[in-house]
C-alpha cells in the first residue's frame, strides 16, 4: 500500500496544522536553492512566480514561444471558489462535498478539502493582480453556475477566464524575470528527468530552435506539464499538449496514477472531416442559459425551428430533473452519446445534439446574452458557418481533460523524492470526473498556495548543490539516450508521418477506450497498440535534421511516447472492473444506465510502477479512506 502522508487530525484542521509542522528555509538560505519549473500554465507560472517572490532561484522551461501561450489560456468558463457571495448556501464544506461527489468518490478527501479551503484566497489574489472578473452594477463580483453544483460559485471573465488568470500569473512571472529571480527558457521541451541515487536532480531538454540537447540541474524539479487528452489525437487540447514529460518521469520511477480517468466534455463543436486537427469546446457556462435537446423522433430531419415543443426531448431535464442541464460532464456526455446512438442525433452526421439558447435570448434579450457569451458565439460561427443567435448550436462530446496523472502525496511530491507535480499533470484532486471550473482552481491552488509551503519543507531537509553536477554520469547517460532517440527518429526515413500514426492511435483509443469501454474492446486495443508502435519505429518519416527547428521531429517524439503510454492507459481501464465518473465500463452499470462503482474492490488509487526491462507495469494501491463523507450512488436526479 502507498502512503500518501496525509496528516492526522480532523479533516478541516489537517492543512492548517500541517503547515505549522512543515519546516522552513530561512530567507538568507533560499537563494542557495535552485528550483526548476517545467511548464508555464496556471500551475507552473503561479508556482514559479511565488517561489521567486520567496527568494528561491528559479529556472523555468516553456514549450511555447512565450509563457503566456500555455494551454491554460484556452479555459473559457470560470473558476470555482467557496466565497458564498451569492448567499445561496455555499461553504468550504459544500465545495468540498460537491467535488468529492462529482469525482464519483475516487479522490483523496484531504486534498479536496484543502483545495476548497484555499479557493477563496485565489480569487482575492487574482483580483489584486488585476484580473478583470465580471462584476455586477454594484461593483461587486458576479458569479455563474457550473455543472454538478446547485450554487453559483463560479467567477468568470467573459468567456476568457483562463486567459485572464494566466495573464495574471504570467505577468507575476515576468515581474520576477525583471527582478532577476527567474530565468526563463522559451521554446524548450523537457525530454527526460535525471535522478541521482533515486532523487530528482535535473532535466534534459531540447532547445527547439537550435536542436541542442542540454542538461540542467536543480535541488528540486517541479513539473506542471499538463494533461494527455491529445492521446486521442482529436481533443480540445492545444497542439503542443503532450505526455512526454510525465511519461519520461514515469520511466524514471514516478508512479502513474489512474491513467484511465479521462474527461470527455459534452459541449464541443462536432467533428466534420478527416482533415480536422482539433476540436473546439463551447464553455460549460452556456449550460446556464442553454437547453440541450434532440427531436423525439429518431431520424427527424426537420429544421429545429420547425420542431414544436412537444416534438423535442430535453433529455437532461427529463432524466435529471434536479440538476437538469447542469449535471456533471461525464453524465451529460454519456447521455448525448446514448441519444445519438439511438438515432436521435442531428446534423449531417447524426452525431450531434442541440444546445439551444433561444429561450434565454427571448427572456433576457440578445444584448445580455452577447455580453455573457459573445466570444463563444463568434467562435462557433467562424468554425461552423452557422449563426447561433438564429440556429441552435450543435454539439457533441470530445476529449478535454485527464484526471489521471503522476501520483503525488499530500505534499504534491511524486514517488521520486525531489520531483513535485502540479496541476493537470498530477492525479490528485478530481477523482474519476472533474467538475467544471475546478481545473483553474486546482492549478492555481497548487502553484500559489500549496507548493510554496511543501517545497520549502523538502528543501529545508537537503543541502543545496554547490557544484556543477551536469557533468555527472547520470546526466551524460540521459543526454545520450535523448540524442539517440532523436537520431533514430530522423534516420528512419519511412513512409508515414507522425500525424498519420497519431490519428490511427487516436481513433483506436476513442473507439475502444473512450466514452464507453468493454473488456473485449480493451483487449483488442491492447493487441493493436504494440503493432502500431512497432510499425512506427520502422516506418516513421521525419524530414530534416535534429539540428534546427524541426516541428515534424517534435511531433514524432511525442507520438512515440503516446504509443508507449497508450498501453498503460488501456491496461488501467481493463483492470478497473467497475464504472466510475468518466471511466464507463458497459458491463458495470445500474439499471438506469449510470456508472456503477464497486467500492469493495476498487476504492483505491491505482498507481503504476515502471520496472526497467519489463513491458508491464506493477500495480500499487493507495486505499481511499472516507472519514467525513458516506460513499453513495451518485445521484443528480
Amino acid at each position: 500500500m502507498l502512503d500518501a502522508k496525509i496528516p492526522s487530525g480532523p479533516l478541516k484542521d489537517k492543512w492548517s496544522s500541517h503547515k505549522l509542522h512543515l519546516q522552513l528555509v530561512n530567507p538568507a538560505n533560499k537563494r542557495k536553492y535552485q528550483v526548476i519549473v517545467v511548464g508555464t500554465g496556471l500551475a507552473g507560472s503561479s508556482a514559479a512566480a511565488t517561489l521567486a517572490e520567496l527568494g528561491y532561484r528559479v529556472k523555468v522551461f516553456c514549450i511555447q514561444d512565450s509563457a503566456r501561450r500555455a494551454h491554460s489560456i484556452s479555459a473559457q468558463g470560470g473558476i470555482n471558489a467557496a466565497k458564498n457571495y451569492a448567499n445561496d448556501g455555499d461553504s468550504i464544506e459544500r465545495l468540498f462535498y460537491d467535488t468529492i461527489k462529482g469525482g464519483d468518490f475516487r479522490a483523496r478527501e484531504a486534498n479536496v478539502h484543502r483545495l476548497a479551503e484555499v479557493s477563496n484566497a485565489i480569487i482575492d489574489h487574482c483580483v489584486a493582480q488585476g484580473v478583470p472578473f465580471a462584476r455586477e452594477y454594484s461593483g461587486y463580483l458576479d458569479n455563474r453556475s457550473f455543472g454538478g453544483a446547485q450554487v453559483s460559485r463560479t467567477f468568470y471573465a467573459r468567456g476568457q477566464t483562463g486567459q485572464q488568470l494566466l495573464l495574471g500569473a504570467y505577468s507575476a512571472l515576468r515581474k520576477e524575470v525583471e527582478r532577476d529571480n527567474v530565468e526563463i527558457r522559451h521554446r524548450t521541451e523537457m525530454l527526460d528527468l535525471v535522478t541521482i541515487d533515486g532523487v530528482a536532480k535535473g532535466i534534459i531538454i531540447r532547445d527547439l530552435i537550435t536542436g541542442k540537447i542540454e542538461s540542467h540541474s536543480a535541488d528540486v524539479v517541479i513539473m506542471a506539464t499538463g494533461g494527455y487528452s491529445s492521446i486521442f489525437y482529436l481533443s480540445t487540447n492545444a497542439k503542443a499538449c503532450n505526455a512526454t514529460a510525465i511519461w519520461r518521469a514515469h520511466k524514471r520511477g514516478a508512479f502513474m496514477a489512474n491513467p484511465c480517468y479521462t474527461q470527455i466534455h459534452p459541449t464541443c463543436i462536432p467533428v466534420h472531416g478527416e482533415y480536422q486537427s482539433k476540436l473546439t469546446l463551447m464553455s460549460e457556462g452556456l449550460r446556464n442559459d442553454g437547453r440541450v435537446w434532440v427531436p423525439k423522433q429518431a431520424g427527424d430531419k426537420r429544421l429545429p425551428s420547425e420542431i414544436p415543443e412537444e416534438g423535442r426531448d430535453y433529455f437532461l431535464e427529463r432524466k435529471y430533473p434536479t440538476f437538469g442541464n447542469l449535471v456533471p460532464r461525464d453524465i451529460a456526455s454519456r447521455s448525448v452519446k446514448e441519444l445519438c446512438d439511438a438515432g436521435q442525433g442531428v446534423g449531417d452526421t447524426g452525431m450531434a445534439v442541440y444546445l439551444d439558447l433561444s429561450a434565454a435570448i427571448e427572456r433576457l434579450g440578445k444584448e445580455k446574452i452577447a455580453e455573457r457569451y459573445s466570444n463563444l458565439f463568434e467562435m462557433y460561427e467562424k468554425i461552423s458557418g452557422h449563426n447561433p443567435y438564429e440556429y441552435p448550436m450543435m454539439i457533441y462530446p470530445a476529449p478535454h481533460y485527464t484526471m489521471g496523472g503522476l501520483w503525488v502525496d499530500y505534499n504534491l511530491m511524486s514517488t521520486i523524492p525531489g520531483l513535485f507535480v502540479l496541476g493537470e499533470a498530477n492525479f490528485s484532486d478530481h477523482g474519476a470526473n472533474r467538475l467544471g471550473a475546478s481545473a483553474l482552481m486546482q492549478g492555481l491552488a497548487d502553484g500559489y498556495f500549496i507548493i510554496p509551503y511543501t517545497v520549502g519543507d523538502y528543501l529545508a531537509q537537503i543541502t543545496p548543490i554547490n557544484t556543477d553536477i551536469t557533468t555527472f554520469a547520470a546526466f551524460k547517460e540521459a543526454e545520450g539516450q535523448v540524442v539517440q532517440k532523436v537520431s533514430r527518429l530522423v534516420s528512419a526515413k519511412g513512409k508515414r508521418t507522425a500525424d498519420d500514426f497519431h490519428k490511427q492511435l487516436g481513433k483506436l483509443l476513442w473507439d475502444k477506450c473512450g466514452m464507453a469501454r468493454t473488456e473485449a474492446g480493451l483487449h483488442e486495443a491492447l493487441d493493436k497498440i504494440p503493432e502500431i508502435r512497432s510499425e512506427f519505429w520502422d516506418n516513421i518519416n521525419v524530414p530534416g535534421s535534429g539540428e534546427d527547428l524541426n516541428q515534424s521531429l517534435e511531433k514524432a517524439g511525442r507520438v512515440a511516447d503516446y504509443l508507449e503510454f497508450a498501453e498503460l492507459f488501456v491496461r488501467d481501464a481493463l483492470h478497473r472492473k467497475e464504472s466510475c465518473g468518466g471511466h464507463f465500463r458497459t458491463e458495470y452499470q445500474t439499471p438506469e444506465g449510470e456508472a456503477k462503482r464497486d467500492d469493495e474492490k476498487f476504492c483505491y488509487v491505482a498507481a503504476w510502477e515502471h520496472i526497467e526491462g519489463q513491458n508491464e507495469q506493477q500495480l500499487h494501491k493507495e486505499a481511499l479512506k472516507f472519514e467525513s463523507v458516506n460513499l453513495t450512488q451518485r445521484s443528480y436526479k
Partner: protein
C-alpha cells in the same frame, strides 16, 4: 454544402535568421471549404513530407483564437482579410477556387524571422517585464470584494485585457509600432483601482522598453486596430499617450 478548392500558394521560405529567404510556389488540390487556414497548411505539409521535403514551419497551438501563437500575413493582411479573426479561425470558405494566396511572416525589425513563417516575439515579453503588471505578492491580498469597482470600468479593462499578444498590430503598422500592444496593457490596468498605484511609472517604463526593442512610433494610421483579431481599440493608444505624458511630467528622475 462544402465546396472543394484548388489553390496556388506563394509561401515565404527561410531556413534560419541569417538566410535571405524567398517565396516558393506550391499547389494544393481539393481543399475542403470548412477547413481552417492552418488545416489547409497541414494538408500541404503532409504532402511535402511524403515528397521528402521539409514542411513549412509555422507557429500555432490552441487553434481556437486565444493563445496568440499563429501569425502570418495573408495576401497583405495580418491574419488575413477577415476582421477580428486569428489565422487559425480563418476558414477556407472565405477563399475562391483557383485563388493565389501569398503567405509571409510578420515583418518587423523587432520580430526577427526564426524559420519560414516563425518569428521571434520575445520583445513583447520584455515589454511586459518592464511594467505590465501589478506587483501584488502572493498572500498579500485583501478580500476580493473589499474594493467595489464600477462595472463599466471593469468592462473597459476587460476589452483591453483581451489582447492575445500575437503581434498583428506590429505587422500591420507601416512603422512596425507596438503602441496598440502597450496601450492595451496600460489601459487594462489603469481602469482598475489596483492598477493605479504603479500607474505612474508603468506607461513610461513600457514605452521606453518598446523603443529599446526597435519598434517604431505611432503615426495614427489605425492599421493596428483594423488587423487586431480581438478588436482592441486605438482609444487604448490615446490612453497610453495620456498616461505617458503624465508619468513623464511627474517622474522624479
Amino acid at each position: 454544402m462544402d465546396k472543394k478548392l484548388n489553390l496556388k500558394l506563394m509561401i515565404w521560405r527561410q531556413k534560419g535568421p541569417k538566410d535571405k529567404g524567398a517565396f516558393e510556389i506550391y499547389k494544393v488540390k481539393d481543399i475542403d471549404t470548412s477547413m481552417s487556414f492552418l488545416e489547409m497548411l497541414d494538408v500541404l505539409n503532409e504532402e511535402l513530407t511524403h515528397e521528402g521535403k521539409e514542411p513549412i514551419a509555422f507557429d500555432h497551438d490552441c487553434r481556437e483564437g486565444i493563445c496568440g501563437a499563429c501569425a502570418a500575413v495573408v495576401n497583405g493582411k495580418a491574419h488575413g482579410k477577415l476582421k477580428g479573426t486569428t489565422l487559425c479561425q480563418l476558414h477556407m470558405r472565405h477563399f475562391e477556387n483557383n485563388e493565389t494566396i501569398v503567405i509571409e511572416p510578420w515583418r518587423a525589425k523587432a520580430f526577427p524571422v526564426i524559420k519560414d513563417l516563425i518569428v521571434d516575439r520575445s520583445a513583447f515579453d520584455r515589454i511586459i517585464s518592464a511594467g505590465g503588471y501589478i506587483s501584488a505578492k502572493t498572500g498579500s491580498a485583501p478580500d476580493a470584494n473589499a474594493i467595489p469597482i464600477p462595472k463599466e470600468n471593469v468592462d473597459l479593462a476587460m476589452d483591453a485585457a483581451a489582447c492575445i499578444g500575437c503581434g498583428a498590430c506590429v505587422a500591420a503598422c507601416p512603422n512596425a509600432s507596438a503602441m496598440l500592444f502597450v496601450g492595451a496593457k496600460v489601459s487594462h490596468l489603469i481602469h482598475l483601482p489596483q492598477g493605479k498605484v504603479e500607474g505612474k511609472s508603468r506607461a513610461y517604463d513600457m514605452v521606453r522598453q518598446m523603443d529599446k526593442e526597435g519598434f517604431g512610433n505611432c503615426s495614427n494610421e489605425y492599421e493596428c486596430e483594423a488587423a487586431c483579431p480581438k478588436n482592441i481599440s486605438v482609444s487604448t493608444i490615446a490612453r497610453l499617450n495620456r498616461e505617458f505624458m503624465f508619468s513623464k511630467l511627474t517622474r522624479k528622475t
